[in-house]
Amino acid sequence: MATSDRRPYLLATVLDQALLDEMQDNLENKLEMICEIESPTGTIYASDRHKYVGTRFYEALLNFPEVMRTVGEWLSGELEFSSLTLALSNVDGRFNNFLPGGADFSGWIGKTVLVKIGLRDVASTYTTVFSGEVTEIGGFKRDKNSVILTARDTFDKANVTIPQTVLTDTGFADIEDNFVGLGVPIIYGDWTTSLREFGNPPAQKASIPAIPTNGKNAGVQAGTTALSCLISSHDLFSLDATNVYLFRSNIFWKFDTADITAGTGNRSLTIKQDNSGGTTVIDGGSFRYEAGDEIFCRVKGKDLGSGNIYDDNVVWITRDLLLSYTNGDIVSGDLDANWATYRDKSTPAQSDISTLKFRLWRQDGESVMKEVLSLLEQVRLEVFVSRGLKLKINSLQFEDFTAAPSVTIRNWDVERGTFAPESPDRNQFNRAAVDYDFDPSINENRRSTAIKNNTDAVNQAGKEISKKIVIPNMYIEGEVNLQLVEFIRLASSYPEFIHVTLTPRSFLLDIGDFVFVSVNIGSTVYSNVPCMVRQIGYNADGLRIPTILQSFQMTPFPGYEPGFSGTVGGYNATITTES
């Protein structure tokens, strides 16, 4: 609460919630925005007002746009990186030397842009809320009064396409034309178990393609040269030489183990042919490669270290994707410490990430970030850019929700006219099934669960609202069913999203944080409703905090039992399997 000091911000040196509360109680604050822009000859220090931060002077040269961070929409598979456009005043021509034709022009693409918010001139209180680079497309413009820069979040440049290597006839002179341009696969997890069964009697074969890379070679065609096949673009933990198969004419034929030689790091293998010492008999004859033959093998994917205990851990797989395939733009220091926490999470069973089995085979081009989001959302996890500008995991697992948030939003924390609850257009369903277990040998999800529903929600809605969920990277049926149940419990509780602009008292909130909402605005009455921050922004005009909150008013979770009539979803909702 406030003291006799009506302007506590004048002397404060620490920006914490207590100070924000006290400033709010006095209806006045002094949070300010600054910007640092890399220029060809140094750094431009700018703000929307003349001010010092520490010993550095920031000149009033621009007006700030709104800076936003979001975790995106649940199950959307997209992480929206923030971008912003700044117009630097050049009315006095001070930046003419940096413009085309100027003495110091060296281009603006890739120049860093930092936006920070803090208290007054106290340097230690300033937090970077945006870190980005001037984009290559439309990143630099100018008009008669200003230099206009558009910057994208630094993490966006790490959003590269994987796999990063493709098969070419330059790298493989004798590769058949139909393989040219295909990606060299990335493989994680255990591909030696839970495989497609084939034949009579049905038996597990192999799923991982081994791509012939010398099929046009005269020696291969004559059978005098071993067939070379590429499996992955990186070392694999193991290759099971006893389970390498030829798929020809809709029949799997197993190669003799002695005919198989693993390449360095198990990335490749060679197969002896009839005239190169091979002993494998295919359909009554010795093996000789024919166009159209498909080779499959069993492997264990990339070794993620630590005694292989995390090789099929979804959190550690996604972490490795980010560290390995972003050209060094993301390093371990860019990941929040909670990655390790979620890697080791073991309870309850449906959220036992430490033992849930995942595997990935990626050949078709996909953005690495989309791949990461897709993997994590299969266990109801999300990734976002945190206040500390690290990639951090947000959980939609019920047991991780905060039942007693320390922050309560009340009427006087809400900008007038901005409180707008709405129901989402997507991801409200009361009935679902899952397609899972992607099989590279058939290029589709091999299996489907039974349909499950929340009968109470169906009865309440008066209709079935169905959704087909895809969990391609899980392959243990029981584990998949656990996730399906949780998805239905979450989606059938009819979540609400509240668009609201908050006062600067909420400046320290981050995505994933829970708050209580207690407001009485017109006919909208919320009484201590727990909500999760899904999107948060910073508007320099007053340091408004535009947010999107996910309301769990009708969603029971551990510690929160609203008891409202009509509550049908939530963590303890009964989910029924349809026969």
Binding site: Q24, L27, E28, N29, K30, L31, E32, R49, H50, K51, Y52, G54, T55, R56, F57, E59, R410, N411, W412, D413, V414, E415, R416, F419, T501, T503, P504, R505, V519, I521, A540, D541, G542, L543, R544
Partner: protein, 333 residues
């Protein structure tokens, strides 16, 4: 050598004729005479030179009571000095350079590392020197107990000091002014400010702007009308809430000033002075406006013109023309 001759009491019509003034110049043969008027009514004097050898006459009407405006700041040095004509014996690290006081941005300050024995020195770059009739130090952090002296010298070593002027911090503590009570006769190329403020809780001296030089001075014949309208503008960002209280983010407090002038006689100096200011500063340059030099802190602003005023003029042919105008000044522009 100069001699001051007090002619107050003689500046009546009947005395303003050649024979009386002839006597004055004869009495101070070979000397320079300064004529000081203590009359508040505008004065005019005719000068007749009776000696033709080695004489030069110049007439200056100076007062320390009427509106004065300083648009050109000799404190910033000649262009050849590149705006870096100040030095300080104590300067904090970072963006607190002494030459920050040469900008029009009061927030961009000079800061020392100590609050005693601070000396900031300027080189006007003018060999003939500058006689300061107006000095201002804006956005400072000095306490009322600070001692501030202004010294001039012909050499950068201030050996010897040619002139020392003691300046007393005003009741309003953020701005400080010095108005020369009489026409300053001593010109010095180098000027420095000596500051001691041992009771300063900040432990350092901080100054936003220093300007000095020669102001353009209204004659006492005409003045602004009452009421003069000082004001303040509070800049803030405001968030109206659903609790029907508004949350503010404080930005700045800036002064404004409005003055009205009635019946300024065309061709009598004051109107021409204002038009010179309009032509020079327009609405783009800040000037130091001191409406009441006797108490300069009362209404002074370092501001731009909001607009160039219209000048409705009553033209009476041979009986003269008289102009009304309103001036609107704003420090936030």
């Amino acid at each position: 050598m100069t001699t001051t001759v007090d002619l107050s009491g003689y500046l009546e019509d009947s005395y303003l004729s050649g024979p009386y003034l002839t006597g004055v110049t004869g009495a101070i043969d070979g000397m320079q005479a300064l004529m000081v008027t203590t009359k508040e009514v505008g004065s005019q004097a005719d000068m007749i030179i009776t000696k033709i050898i080695g004489s030069q006459a110049s007439m200056v009407l100076y007062n320390a009571t009427a509106l004065r405006v300083m648009c050109e700041f000799l404190s910033r040095g000649t262009p050849a000095l590149g705006g870096t004509n100040w030095s300080a014996n104590s300067q904090a690290g970072g963006d607190f350079d002494i030459n920050n006081i040469n900008s029009d941005i009061p927030e961009q300050v000079y800061r020392s590392v100590t609050d005693t024995g601070v000396i900031i020195t300027s080189d006007t770059g003018l060999p003939q020197g500058v006689a300061i009739d107006t000095f201002a130090m804006l956005n400072h952090n000095l306490t009322k107990s600070a001692t501030v002296s202004l010294q001039g010298a012909d050499n950068a070593g201030f050996a010897p000091v040619g002139q020392t002027i003691n300046i007393t911090p005003q009741v309003r503590l953020d701005d400080m002014y010095y108005i020369a009570p009489t026409l300053p006769g001593q010109r010095f190329r180098y000027w420095r400010v000596l500051i001691d403020d041992v009771n300063n809780v900040d432990g350092y001296i901080e100054i936003g702007i220093v300007v000095y030089g020669n102001a353009q001075i209204f004659s006492t014949k005409e003045c602004f009308e009452n009421p003069i309208i000082p004001g303040k503008r509070h800049f803030k960002d405001e968030i109206p809430t659903e609790g029907f209280t508004n949350i503010m983010n404080d930005r700045a407090l800036r002064k404004t000033l409005k003055m009205s002038f009635l019946q300024l006689e065309n061709g009598e100096g004051n109107l021409d002075l204002l038009n010179e200011i309009f032509d020079f500063a327009r609405t783009s340059l800040k000037c130091l406006w001191i409406p009441t030099p006797v108490q300069p802190h009362k209404y002074s602003v370092f501001a731009k013109l909001v607009d160039l005023p219209e000048q409705p003029t009553t033209d009476n042919d041979d009986d003269g023309a008289f102009t009304d105008l309103d001036i609107d000044l704003d420090e936030s522009l």
